[in-house]
């Protein structure tokens, strides 16, 4: 069991968050879908990108050192004009600077997505069991209602589907009470991909896809934000 306290302190110091664009690239390389997005480091390129992908767009900081983007005022939604994009860009950069970010001008411009339900899909490395995958309903619901399901990685498609049925909100998500059913199949696929990533990449300490937006059945699911904490390997 060793000298617990000392080891944990050492392990903590080896953790580091990666930037938003790196986190997205890691997830995308492993099959996770995102809306069209691009990193913009000046207002002109933000406007250019917005024009290319089509309004409305979302701007959010890509800085690795901003943990709570919304709380820090580093997310702006539903931007439809050049003026709005420029204003949002400078607000986000200003707020990120004030929050002490070393890369305040790294901003992601992303196509706005509308779905019918939001989820969190995440990874965590347990000291005892290794990588663990979680799926929960919407950012607030997962924390307040504790409506989430866990499994050790990797999971099969069947197990991923079982995780979704474990959710208390499942009857609603599956189209009960005159609701439209979410694309549970696409969500299960995303769970499987993330769980494989957890099993393969020992240096991933934590990963959050939050929120994941599910469209109605047959129309897929996309992650609109990613956060990754890496841990340096013992041999590094």
């Amino acid at each position: 069991m060793g000298n617990g306290a000392e080891e944990i302190v050492r392990a903590e110091s080896e953790l580091r968050s990666v930037s938003g664009d790196q986190a997205r690239n890691l997830a995308m390389e492993n099959g996770v879908r995102f809306p069209f997005w691009c990193l913009a480091t000046n207002p002109d390129s933000a406007v250019e990108t917005a024009r290319t992908i089509g309004e409305p767009v979302v701007l959010k900081t890509a800085a690795a050192d901003i943990v709570h983007k919304s709380d820090a005022g580093c997310v702006r939604l539903n931007l439809s004009t050049e003026r709005e994009v420029r204003k949002a860009w400078s607000e986000i950069v200003g707020n990120a600077s004030r929050a002490g970010s070393t890369t305040p001008d790294h901003v992601i411009v992303e196509q706005a997505e509308k779905g019918i339900a939001e989820f969190v899909i995440g990874l965590k490395r347990s000291e005892i069991f290794g990588p663990v995958i979680m799926v929960g309903v919407g950012g607030i619901w997962v924390e307040v209602m504790r409506d989430y399901a866990l499994r050790l990685c990797p999971v099969s498609k069947d197990e991923a589907s079982a995780m979704l049925t474990d959710l208390r909100a499942f009857p609603v998500l599956a189209g009960g009470r005159n609701q439209e059913s979410c694309d549970l199949d696409a969500l299960a696929d995303m769970i499987v991909m993330v769980s494989r990533l957890g099993a393969e990449r020992e240096d991933i300490h934590e990963l959050d896809l939050n929120p994941v937006i599910a469209m109605k059945s047959g129309h897929g699911a996309v992650s609109v934000d990613a956060r990754v904490v890496l841990r340096n390997r013992a041999s590094d």
Partner: protein, 534 residues
């Protein structure tokens, strides 16, 4: 054949009348017999792991040496040796440097001076001498050394250092180590035990515990419920042999038909998960996790990190492995009692069918409250068939005035005993009903005590109950007021022995225990269905 949860041995009664009626004590209740054989067919795996396992030396031990066995009465190492010398069926050898004999058995001064082959060495010497004894075991190629002495990793500091020394000593050798800090082993087959307070009885249940004290709880309370634990092992600190080894062994062990584990911690969680997953394919595995702190994660950077505490992960792991989590010792015992019924309950459970229970009892208010309790516990009352309702109406003609003839069904105590076959008829027709999966009977034991001859009345009722065909359903009897002081202990035990011992029904003092049993059966049925699906 061993009985999953046959009758507890009868307690001797002073009444000669009672004793006469108990003469059929050797015959096993036919329903239980059927139930058990059905269970076996499903549970016994096709391919037993036939590789000899080091733990065979423990559970089939023919010769045991006890290092530190004392001849001084009053010492624990003397109590233990005396206990073993009375119960162990094989050869027991004391090892003691200071005396020639312990309990009239010739003592040896060291392991190497024993001229015979030893399967297992028990170590009960003071902590600081343990490492030397273990080294001697390694040198003498003893298959297993079981360290009961405490004061190691569990106390930290120097104890942890000594534990590391123990691990180093056996590492790479042919000697495996159980413990340290272990209470011992209870094994009916060899007669090993750690307590004089429990019977050594063969049985298909195994309990593996990281707490020594809980071994007593499970044995004593389990035996009181008629559950037969053939093997119980206190694994202590798991310094060498660890959870994956124990799970693997009992998964392959043909004597073990159901496995219960009390786990506090494990060093290789993933390995444990893999072994649990394999074991759960072969037999029911129940896990009671000690230390349920939901302590948040070390990092707060992500939702996942914040949400998934270690206990949450344990819970998920237990489920994912196909095992069942239980929440207390009582829950564990009830779950084990419930499990065979999940195999025998009729297969009419097409998906979506709600598991239905019939509630039969005496006492109007009690029936109302218990119906509410069913509702709150998520146990649904079965919509009984027309045939069942007709039998109810024929048999309980005054029931209309007592609130209707349906489920729950209500009987007056006087009527119940005026017609000793009444309860059996109602129960039997319920067990024939395709909508019914279980029956709960509740009786007010205080009202029964008021009868002129309660023992005789109960006996006659039970004579009918024991003959009914239950078609694989569980029938539970709740003895209301059965645990209160004014109900004589004698009556309570007698009733228990009749209903459980003779009639093979599950008997509880509290209603919530019966509901818990039914929920366990239902969960188990569902789990089995989903296993078949996948």
């Amino acid at each position: 054949m061993q009985c999953w949860y046959g009758r507890a041995d009868y307690i001797a009664f002073d009444s000669p009348d009672t004793e006469n009626r108990m003469s059929a004590r050797e015959e096993l209740n036919p329903d239980i017999e059927r139930l058990v054989s059905a269970t076996r067919e499903v549970l016994v795996p096709d391919d037993h792991d036939s590789t000899p396992h080091v733990l065979d030396h423990v559970f089939d031990a023919r010769r045991i040496a006890v290092v530190g066995a004392s001849d001084t009465p009053g010492k624990w190492s003397n109590d233990l040796f005396r206990l073993l010398s009375e119960s162990f069926k094989g050869d027991l050898i004391p090892v003691n440097t200071r005396t020639d004999h312990v309990e009239r058995k010739q003592a040896y001064s060291s392991i190497s001076s024993i001229p015979l082959e030893v399967d297992l060495v028990l170590v009960v010497v003071p902590r600081d001498s343990v490492v030397n004894v273990v080294r001697e075991c390694v040198d003498n190629r003893i298959p297993v050394v079981h360290v009961l002495s405490s004061g190691f990793g569990e106390v930290g500091g120097h104890g942890s250092e000594l534990q590391r020394l123990l691990v180093d000593t056996v590492a790479g050798s042919g000697t495996a180590l159980i413990g340290p800090n272990s209470l011992g082993i209870h094994c009916a087959r060899t007669g090993m035990t750690f307590t004089a307070g429990c019977r050594l009885e063969a049985g298909p249940l195994t309990f593996v515990s990281q707490s020594g004290g809980l071994c007593y709880d499970v044995l004593v309370r389990g035996q009181a419920r008629g559950l037969k634990f053939g093997k119980v092992i206190s694994v202590g600190n798991c310094a060498d042999l660890d959870w994956p080894d124990y799970v693997r062994y009992f998964s392959a062990d043909p004597d073990t038909e159901a496995l219960a584990l009390y786990i506090e911690s494990v060093s290789d969680g993933l390995h444990l998960y893999q072994e649990l997953r394999e074991a759960a394919k072969r037999k029911p595995v129940f896990v009671l996790k000690g230390g349920k702190t939901r302590c948040g994660s070390e990092s707060v950077a992500s939702h996942t990190g914040r949400m998934a505490g270690e206990y949450d992960i344990w819970q998920a792991m237990i489920r994912q492995a196909g095992c069942r989590e239980v929440l207390s010792i009582d829950d564990l015992l009830i779950a084990m009692e419930a499990t065979p019924y999940a195999e025998t309950v009729p297969a009419g459970h097409q998906a979506g069918h709600r598991f239905g229970t019939v509630l039969i009892g005496t006492g109007g208010g009690a029936t109302v409250l218990l119906t509410d309790e069913c509702e709150e516990a998520g146990v649904s009352l079965a919509p009984i068939s027309e045939e069942t309702r007709n039998v109810f109406i024929r048999n309980v003609p005054d029931a209309e005035t007592l609130g209707g003839v349906d489920n729950p069904v209500e009987i007056g105590v006087d009527r119940l005993f005026a017609d000793p076959a009444l309860l059996a008829r109602l129960t039997e027709v319920s067990c024939r009903d395709a909508n019914v999966d279980a029956v709960i009977i509740h009786l007010n034991l205080t009202a029964i005590a008021n009868l002129a001859d309660p023992l005789d009345a109960l006996q006659r009722m039970c004579d009918h109950l024991r003959q009914i065909e239950r078609n694989g359903r569980n029938v539970s009897v709740v003895l209301r007021n059965g645990d209160t002081a004014d109900t004589s202990d004698h009556l309570r035990r007698h009733t228990w022995n009749l209903l459980h011992g003779q009639a093979g029904l599950s008997v509880f003092n509290r209603f919530d225990e019966a509901l818990s049993l039914i929920r366990h059966i239902e969960t188990c049925v569902r789990d089995n269905e989903s296993k078949e699906d996948s």
